[in-house]
Symmetry: C2
DNA sequence: CAGAGCTTGTGCACAAAGTCACAAGGCCGG
DNA sequence: CCGGCCTTGTGACTTTGTGCACAAGCTCTG
């Protein structure tokens, strides 16, 4: 077994979770084989791309047949590193932080909520979802108890860098940032950013630049 | 004036809102000139990339000096189509829908909340943020009153396609989907997707595949 | 008004991602 | 057990994105 298979391209990595979600759905429907064609249709991408993506994980398909759903599911979980749970610590118990904490979809997909922490004394001790908001001073302890932990920043942008530093200091090695601000972390820490207003602006761009000739009539 | 300047590459479009955010910040600090170098630093990208990105908008810089913040801001808003507000309709008054409705950052950035609608009779009439949840039957009316409108899907994945169809039928031409499901829309409708669990899984991947030799010690 | 000092704008070479097309190879019916 | 059928896996090519390096051009100083 080749431990150091080819490096998986970033673009592929970004699609793997989508395939994973679809495979889980298929498995739930007791479908045990799927072709790249079908998978592509469900994921909204090109079939050749699906095959190439899956080929980075190894040679798991059967020519003339397709992919065994359960086996591919197992291999994909392996590749994504979601064979075990990754507890999540949410920093910031505001609108967004509370929505995230209440969201069942995370636990279901292997990301149980370890804790919600907040700097505001007034919020500490209040209930959110199944947990109680804890003070920032508990951060290191929480992280230590659950390692490896993913940190989620749901605070105002102005303190995002500060919070990121605190997360790193506490031992968190992966961070998802919802604040609209650039945060920098040591190289070995994984960092991703989600900016909802930015998404809206991108939509705005494509709407403004849409070919004015086409109308809403007529489906593709 | 060349109306049909070069087509702006997707990768550039995705970065423009980030530049816009930074320019707003700079303008707020009464800084009136910025170099590509500085802008790159603030955006966390390469300076040459910044210059190339900005050059798609036109020749707005001054050699030896940099870019005039206010002028660039104006041009960028023009390019992104955010010179006027884009009202947003949120479908689904659950955890996420309520958080979005309560979020001031959208109005601030030119995306005021037009309405929140929900199919659940029990939720219709309840207050969320500054508005009252309205029934799905009001959708067409709301859209007509505010056009152009961006639709936000914050319902369970199982009904995402249904909701998208309703949005399109009501006259919405841009959709942001938070549900973990593939939705398809006519070609001329802009669609973007945000899947938070997917982001966590990508983080999980990079953590699992991180070079085990590096540790948390030592900043870049 | 000439020359030094910056910073832009872009040609170019390279890297990454996406697509096509087809040979390789497994499955099944006769 | 052979040949037709189907789907994978991948080499070759196209398209898109990135980054370097430098000429062009503006400003300011003496
Ligand atoms: N609410 C949304 O739907 C939404 C959407 C997009 C982006 N965001 C972004 O998410 C972030 C949070 O948004 P929100 O609406 O929940 O804001 P919020 O103001 O409701 O909540 C922020 C929370 O962070 C806490 N906080 C402040 N400083 C802190 C610190 N130093 N350490 C720990 N906690 C601290 C506050 O006490 C508060 O509870 C913001 O950056 C916002 O731009 C929110
Ligand atoms: N809560 C989060 O933090 C979070 C995070 C990531 C993704 N999501 C996704 O966002 C979506 C919403 O999540 P949530 O936690 O708010 O769920 P939720 O169950 O709290 O809310 C869903 C809302 O949609 C409404 N709804 C159901 N069917 C509808 C229909 N046909 N038309 C209109 N409204 C309908 C429900 O009445 C409910 O109010 C889900 O797809 C979820 O996967 C949520």
């Amino acid at each position: 077994m080749d431990v150091h298979a080819r490096r998986i391209p970033d673009a592929t990595v970004a699609r793997l979770p989508e395939y994973l979600r679809i495979l889980v759905e298929l498995a739930g429907q007791r479908i045990d084989t799927v072709s790249s064609e079908r998978l592509a249709e469900l994921a909204g991408v090109n079939a050749a791309k699906v095959r190439k993506d899956l080929s980075y994980l190894g040679t798991y398909g059967t020519r003339g047949v397709g992919y065994d759903v359960d086996y591919l599911l197992f291999q994909m979980r392996q590749a994504l590193g979601v064979t075990q749970d990754w507890p999540v610590v949410v920093v910031g118990a505001g609108n967004l932080g509370r929505a995230l904490a209440n969201y069942a979809g995370f636990s279901d997909r292997g990301f149980p909520l370890a804790a919600v922490v907040d700097a505001d004394e007034a919020k500490v001790g209040t209930a959110v979802g199944d947990v109680t908001v804890r003070p920032m001073s508990d951060l290191a302890e929480v992280v230590k108890a659950h390692q490896p932990v993913i940190g989620v920043i749901a605070t105002p942008g102005a303190v995002a860098q500060l919070v990121a530093d605190q997360l790193v200091a506490a031992g968190v090695t992966a961070i998802l940032n919802f604040a609209p601000a650039l945060v920098s972390v040591p190289q070995n820490i994984s960092l991703r950013k989600v900016d909802l207003a930015l998404e809206l602006q991108i939509l705005s761009f494509y709407q403004s630049h849409r070919d004015p000739g086409t109308t809403t009539r007529g489906w593709p």
